[in-house]
Symmetry: C2
Subunit: 362 residues, 2 copies
């Protein structure tokens, strides 16, 4: 059976601390389940590299990564020395666009052992997926400033949506919902305020949805939708959203389950024309970086998502990869129940101790 | 001392049920504190009117309302018969723009007697104000569709920000923060993803902020900011945001305090060149309309906000109006502790019973 080439990119801050733990767990899973993963470390796509070279990545970054099956990514950004728009647009957001990772998949789940900020919710109540459009929409640098520096200054910011871009993320979300027992899809919108793109987006959801008569569709304006994440989180199964709305919902969802330090994500190119990228939702966390106390679980869970994605690759021995995914998830669950805890969960364990504990459980 | 002319516009659905209770309470307060309020009812700006006439409002709506000191507004929208973009853009959003109500002020507060969806929060922990830009930004119908109806279809949606528009709302928010004991201002942004308007918005916040050295400014990206509403709601004092971000935060905030049915708002033209508008944050609620069970507290609290705004009008006997505002707030608080409750708060009382109880307490 085939092997997989994984680019390991630590990035900045706690990215450098959690990535090794993620690899540790993946290597443990590889030994136990007979997976063939080859890791290659890349020391660029971080702010130190930028300060040395004036660019976040070498000119041939795309060639270097194109032969990879996946990118296992820590976190990027070090605002004290490099502005976010340079570090992020020069690496992470570039990957998402140039590797056409048009799905950003982010699970939201309540775990036993993780204090929930919502009252009266128990594990099992909250378990849904946010599917975020990841390449277009509100994230653009199109537009400009008229009469700059004067009292008359005005700014145009353009969002760009395409049928190609909207339909494929909606289709992905409908497929996902259709394959789950509840078959429920929430579509985030704001067609009552954003008058061109959002009514159009609603129309695309209707059009794509006709092929999925068994999926119940619930369109919600983003304002009340954020409210319902807090008030009725058990209502959700799959939630599909534009780039900006998906960004918001996939931070808010983990906040509602107390898992903002645990939440993983997959930036997927489902056609596998390019490598997909797996990273924690959290950032580089300058405030705790360098202390060895960051929680590695988001990184480890992202690794499990990577295995689930590789399982479906042509020629893969899918069953082994899926079993390894399940084993890592089970190890995370068990470790959250009674294993060592980092400071964010009220414990005193180091990043390495948590990584070690989970690797042992796999 | 001067009197005030108030336009009372019920709108649709539960707007028609809660408005009379709001007026009942304001009239009780007027009697007790010697206020001079003259109400005039308007039977347009509702969907029935649209179905009869083909427009949400008569051609001379602006003349009819321009002499008013304030608009006391129920809720508009009845999506089953009139699309939202017609009902909302034809009334509420028109008022906000044409009457230059550029501040949307929305308090977020945890009350004794209201079950809080967040664990371990008690009254006093959460008490902040959302200041939303209310006339420009992301809410536009500028842009369009290229290659419509084809596979190549693409959509441009433009947001428009002006220095005039941004500076005045930022200034209002800084003034408000400066006058409060904590002197803390959170500025919502998303400059790491929305690459033209949001870095510019951050720059305007810096520029306006130089005049307020005593206000501590905390810029937060909207994704993590929504998460912090859930995780650290005690952190906030005044929060200023663009039209869209303010819309989201001012639904999410009340959700976090369990007060989505209680939250009031003021759409303010601080210069008083045009009437300001006071309305509940909730909508017309078609699902419960016509049953007489809607909670009137958001409407009543909005009335109190109206009195606080009128208190500062030239020639007003401000002390009376402020005292009336405080008395209504105290009556709401007491009623939430031990008065009759509508179904949304787990009770069986009617809209009128709650209105009556609060009017009696004022
Ligand atoms: C860092 C930032 C540009 C990024 C985004 O907004 O997409 C992050 O918040 C995320 O969600 O991955
Ligand atoms: C009804 C809608 C257009 C409106 C808005 O988005 O402004 C509402 O949500 C509000 O917050 O007042």
């Amino acid at each position: 059976t085939r092997s997989f080439r994984i680019a390991a990119i630590a990035g900045d801050g706690i990215g450098k601390e959690v990535l090794p733990e993620g690899i540790k767990v993946l290597e443990a899973a590889a030994r136990r389940f007979g997976l063939a993963l080859e890791f290659t470390q890349f020391d660029w796509a971080n702010c130190d590299y930028y300060l040395q070279t004036g660019a976040m990545m070498p000119p041939d970054w795309k060639e270097q990564l194109s032969g990879m099956d996946a990118i296992y990514f820590g976190a990027v950004g070090w605002p004290a020395t490099v502005p976010d728009h340079i570090s992020l647009w020069g690496s992470l957001l570039k990957f998402r666009r140039e590797f056409d990772q048009y799905i950003n998949l982010r699970p939201v789940r309540l775990f036993d052992g993780v204090p929930c900020p919502l009252a009266n919710r128990k594990p099992g109540d909250i378990d849904f997926l946010v599917v975020r459009e990841n390449t277009e929409g509100e994230y653009t640098n199109l537009g400009g400033i008229m009469f700059p520096g004067t009292e008359r200054e005005m700014v145009i910011q353009e969002s760009v949506f395409t049928r190609h871009g909207a339909d494929r993320v909606l289709k992905y979300a409908f497929e996902l919902a259709n394959a789950r027992p509840r078959r429920h899809l929430t579509v985030a919108t704001k067609s009552n305020g954003i008058a061109i793109s959002m009514p159009w987006w609603d129309g695309r959801a209707d059009a794509v949805g006709t092929a999925y008569p068994d999926v119940a569709v619930d369109k919600q304006h983003i304002d009340i939708l954020t409210a319902r994440f807090v008030l009725q989180p058990d209502r959700f199964d799959v939630v599909v959203a534009s780039n900006l709305f998906g960004d918001i919902l996939s931070d808010l969802g983990p906040a509602c389950t107390g898992t903002i330090g645990l939440a993983p994500s997959g930036n997927l190119n489902p056609e596998r024309n390019f490598p997909s990228l797996f990273e924690p939702v959290h950032g580089s966390a300058p405030d705790i970086a360098g202390k060895g106390i960051a929680n590695p679980i988001a990184m480890i869970w992202s690794g499990a998502m990577m295995l689930a994605f590789l399982a479906d690759a042509p020629g893969a021995d899918g069953a082994r990869y899926r079993a390894a995914h399940d084993a890592i998830l089970a190890a995370i669950e068990q470790s959250l129940r009674d294993g060592p805890r980092t400071a964010d969960l009220g414990g005193k364990a180091t990043t390495a101790q948590v990584g070690e504990a989970i690797a042992t459980l796999v």
